[in-house]
């Protein structure tokens, strides 16, 4: 009997499973926190602190849960694919660092804004600017990850007179700005546009029609719907031009699946826009989130079998079979539980608000 062969197959199955769950965790983050971040970008243009405060209060009960999907995605990456975790984050140091600073700005703004008197304005701006910088640099990091990065083995900290150190493990070997390309900057803008649209849809569904925030969010959403459509087209064309792995898949024998997928995406976008125009705000939000789900799934499928295109395949990056098996046994069951209690928390805080009611005595 060939046990080695069996173990390779088990590793392959389990690593693919965690690759799918990793995609799901990132998807929860961009779908849920994307709306919160977008509402924060909207707050950049708020005229007064009460409005910013009302927007913050509207998500007070669940912003932390939404944001924590990012941490879970990081944890899954570390737990199942530590070779990617340890090299990609090294590569993405600068964009991640700035996104983390932005997350700090937002998190403290949430807690301080309600208690502040003279410094309220400062924390309001922290919230709004943090909400802009976080998706921008997260988007930059995503675009940079799609481009892949150079690696080598041996000692990573190159400029020290270390004794001979050898390891077969490949680590990042580029420089501080390897991530910086026109495409990665563009994906930063793309992420801001996507978040802006989600935020607009969220605010329309969250505030009572006729309320001042609802009024402004309506126009904002219509504008960002168009911007988002344009951004999708630009991103697809650009990716087709510079990523051979994507182009090969999209124009391969299964081209009709991808074409059909685009049609479905357009249909969802159309439904979101028409529901928005008709004032069905929550339905519009759901269709809009559907677009996010479809595009994210398509991106994940395009990358297969890579986890970082051209750099790490799912197989190469995965933990040894033994660790993957333990991770699967003990953690998979928690995924539906996490979804349940997060859903419950969001459900408790459902309902529409007005600018005045929500910020009164928060």
């Amino acid at each position: 009997m060939d046990f080695t062969h069996d173990i390779v197959r088990i590793t392959s199955a389990l690593s693919t499973w965690w690759w799918i769950l990793l995609g799901l965790m990132f998807l929860f983050y961009i779908a849920l926190d994307g709306a919160d971040l977008g509402a924060g970008i909207f707050a950049l243009f708020s005229k007064d602190e009460d409005e910013r405060g009302a927007i913050m209060a509207s998500m007070a009960g669940f912003w932390d849960g939404n944001e924590t999907w990012l941490v879970v995605a990081g944890g899954v990456l570390f737990g199942a694919f530590p070779l990617v975790y340890g090299s990609a984050f090294n590569y993405l140091m600068i964009p991640l660092m700035i996104a983390l600073w932005a997350i700090i700005m937002r998190a403290v703004a949430f807690e301080f804004h309600v208690h502040a008197r003279s410094s309220r304005k400062v924390w309001g701006w922290f919230f709004a600017i943090g909400s802009l910088l976080a998706p921008f640099f997260a988007g930059v990091a995503l675009g940079a990850a799609l481009q892949g990065f150079p690696m080598e083995n041996g000692l990573a900290m190159a400029h020290i007179a270390g004794r001979d150190y050898t390891t077969p493990v490949m680590h990042f070997s580029g420089n501080a700005l390897t991530w910086l390309t026109p495409f990665s900057i563009w994906t930063g803008f793309g992420a801001v546009i996507a978040a802006g649209l989600a935020g607009g849809l969220y605010l329309c569904a969250r505030f009572v029609p006729g309320d001042v925030i609802h009024q402004r969010a309506k126009g904002w959403t219509s504008l960002f719907s168009l911007l988002a459509l344009a951004a999708i087209v630009v991103t697809l064309v650009w990716s087709y031009a510079i990523f051979p792995w994507a182009a090969a898949k999209w124009t391969g024998p299964n081209w009709w699946v991808w074409a059909a997928w685009i049609v479905i995406v357009l249909f969802f976008a159309f439904k979101s826009m028409s529901n928005h125009s008709a004032g069905h705000n929550f339905v519009a939000l759901l269709w809009g989130e559907g677009v996010v789900v479809l595009l994210w799934a398509a991106m994940w499928a395009t990358m297969y079998p890579y986890i970082v295109p051209g750099t790490w395949t799912i197989q190469e990056a995965a933990n040894p079979a033994n660790s993957l098996a333990v991770f699967t046994l003990f953690m998979t069951g928690f995924v539906p539980i996490m979804i349940m209690y997060n859903w419950y928390q969001i459900w408790v805080f459902r309902g529409r608000f007005t600018k005045k009611s929500i910020y009164a005595a928060h």
Partner: protein, 485 residues
């Protein structure tokens, strides 16, 4: 000079040391106080005594600011292993990565899934559900502490793994999880969170009594807190001693650094049994320039014999020795604080025995109150110094005895390291200053503005509802689905 003290490696150590030091400023209070808030809530629910409710809602305000600061500094931690210590994260991934994955899934997210209900759920969910949410925040944050201590203690005593193909592959999960250092290391940290939280709540209560604001209410708080501290503080000293013995067994270099113990034997060939009260290590890290020492104490402490041999730094190659300054003095500060806090707990309960723990007599001789207020800050320092002993004592290893720190550092330039350091100095200090400023604001505002609990569940117009509670009728899902016109 060891390679770990060369500028690029030292900077990467400082980068990580700074963000962890600033993160541990928040998490202990979250972990410990969530349980204390749960007890207050249960006390309110069982007795119907409105005062417990008031105290709960008051301390909850401090709790949530603290929680926000913990999240703000904590998200960075989750990414920082990969950013700053990529090769370490890769090599340790099969065990360490798994454990961090466990932590995010079973603790970090678990906590986030209930914190909103706990803080903003008053009046929106039933009393029972609210207490359940508080309980879950307590349990999840303690689980978080447990997993983080599993991961860190494994770096101190890497049991159950074998280094193969550049990766620490797990041979025995139980040995790796329940590693030598974890057995006492986790209780030491967890009890520290409870001790810190009790002293913070006692300190705030003492301040109110001293200022004669709601003095009776806060005396009611102070009494059980001091009683709990009478139990917790000696337990912590005992656990701390056990951690010390464990370090002596498993990390002799760390112990030698902690005690400034360089020479295993005296010039005459007898074992060096002296415990140093004060020491000034020399620049070569091979002896003390000056020391005040007491013979036999070190042997008694570490081997429980009069003349037992305790391995000194001279038993290890110069490149394998940690620095002495920080572990040596940090250790002494931590121990001194541990005993002082025990003394304060004794003092308070002695006053109580003599019937002097009333608001009036406490104010008459305010030195006890002042000591309690002062003691609210000390556990923070003790936790900091304890972690500095642990982390600097482990050097020059990132995984003790298996992987050198310089081998685990990411590929980055000194400029990158400096930018990280500078940026986080700004942001972490901002969090610190802001959080403590708003603590002060909340405390200055006091408890009088807190609405009685019966207003939570019976209120008038829905339009008056606000997010901070008092929003009993959910403005149900239906109007969200079909837009109102």
């Amino acid at each position: 000079m060891i390679i770990e003290n060369s500028l690029p490696v030292l900077l990467s150590r400082l980068d990580f040391a700074w963000i962890t030091t600033m993160h541990i400023l928040w998490t202990p209070l979250t972990i410990g106080m969530s349980w204390l808030l749960f007890f207050l809530e249960i006390a309110w629910l069982r007795t119907g005594d409105e005062r417990w409710y008031k105290l709960n809602r008051f301390f909850e305000k401090i709790f949530i600011i603290n929680f926000g600061a913990g999240v703000a500094t904590g998200v960075t931690m989750e990414m920082a292993f990969g950013i700053l210590y990529g090769p370490f994260s890769q090599a340790a991934g099969p065990f360490f990565g798994n454990i961090l994955g466990f932590e995010t899934i079973t603790a970090f997210m678990y906590e986030a899934g209930f914190i909103g209900l706990m803080v903003f759920g008053w009046g929106k969910v039933s009393k029972g559900m609210h207490a359940f949410a508080t309980f879950n925040v307590g349990l999840s944050s303690s689980l978080s502490a447990m997993w983080i201590l599993v991961a860190n203690s494994w770096m101190q005593t890497p049991n159950g793994v074998v280094l193969k193909d550049g990766l620490f592959q797990v041979e025995n999960w139980w040995h790796a999880i329940l590693n030598d250092n974890f057995i006492w290391g986790f209780p030491h940290m967890w009890v520290a969170t409870v001790e810190l939280s009790l002293f913070v709540m006692a300190g705030v209560s003492a301040w109110f009594i001293l200022k004669n604001r709601n003095a009776d209410l806060f005396t009611k708080m102070l009494k059980p807190t001091l009683l709990a501290l009478l139990i917790v503080t000696p337990i912590q000293i005992f656990i701390g001693d056990s951690v010390g013995k464990d370090v002596a067994d498993t990390q002799p270099t760390s112990l030698a650094a902690m005690e400034g113990h360089y020479h295993t034997y005296l010039p005459d060939g007898k074992p060096n049994t002296s415990w140093n009260l004060i020491a000034i290590p020399n620049a070569n890290n091979d002896g003390n320039l000056f020391q005040i020492s007491i013979p036999h104490v070190l042997s008694l402490l570490e081997t429980h014999t009069w003349d037992g041999v305790v391995k000194g730094m001279d038993q290890f190659a110069p490149e394998d020795r940690p620095d002495v300054w920080v572990p040596f003095y940090s250790f002494r500060v931590m121990v001194a604080i541990g005993f002082f806090l025990f003394f304060v707990a004794l003092w308070g309960n002695w006053l109580r025995l003599r019937g002097k723990l009333s608001a009036e007599s406490l104010r008459k001789s305010p030195w006890f109150l002042r000591a309690v207020i002062f003691s609210a800050f000390l556990p923070y320092l003790a936790i900091w110094t304890g972690w500095w002993v642990r982390e600097i004592g482990r050097q020059p290893w990132v995984v003790y005895g298996q992987m050198r720190t310089y081998q685990g550092v990411s590929h980055m330039s000194v400029a990158q390291e400096v930018i990280w350091f500078a940026g986080y100095i700004v942001f972490e200090l901002l969090v610190w200053a802001g959080a403590w400023y708003f603590f002060a604001r909340v405390i200055a505002k006091g408890v009088d503005g807190i609405a009685p609990s019966d207003q939570l569940f019976h209120h008038g117009e829905e339009g008056d509802a606000h997010a901070g509670g008092g929003h009993a009728q959910a403005s149900f899902a239906k109007p969200m689905l079909k837009a109102e016109r």
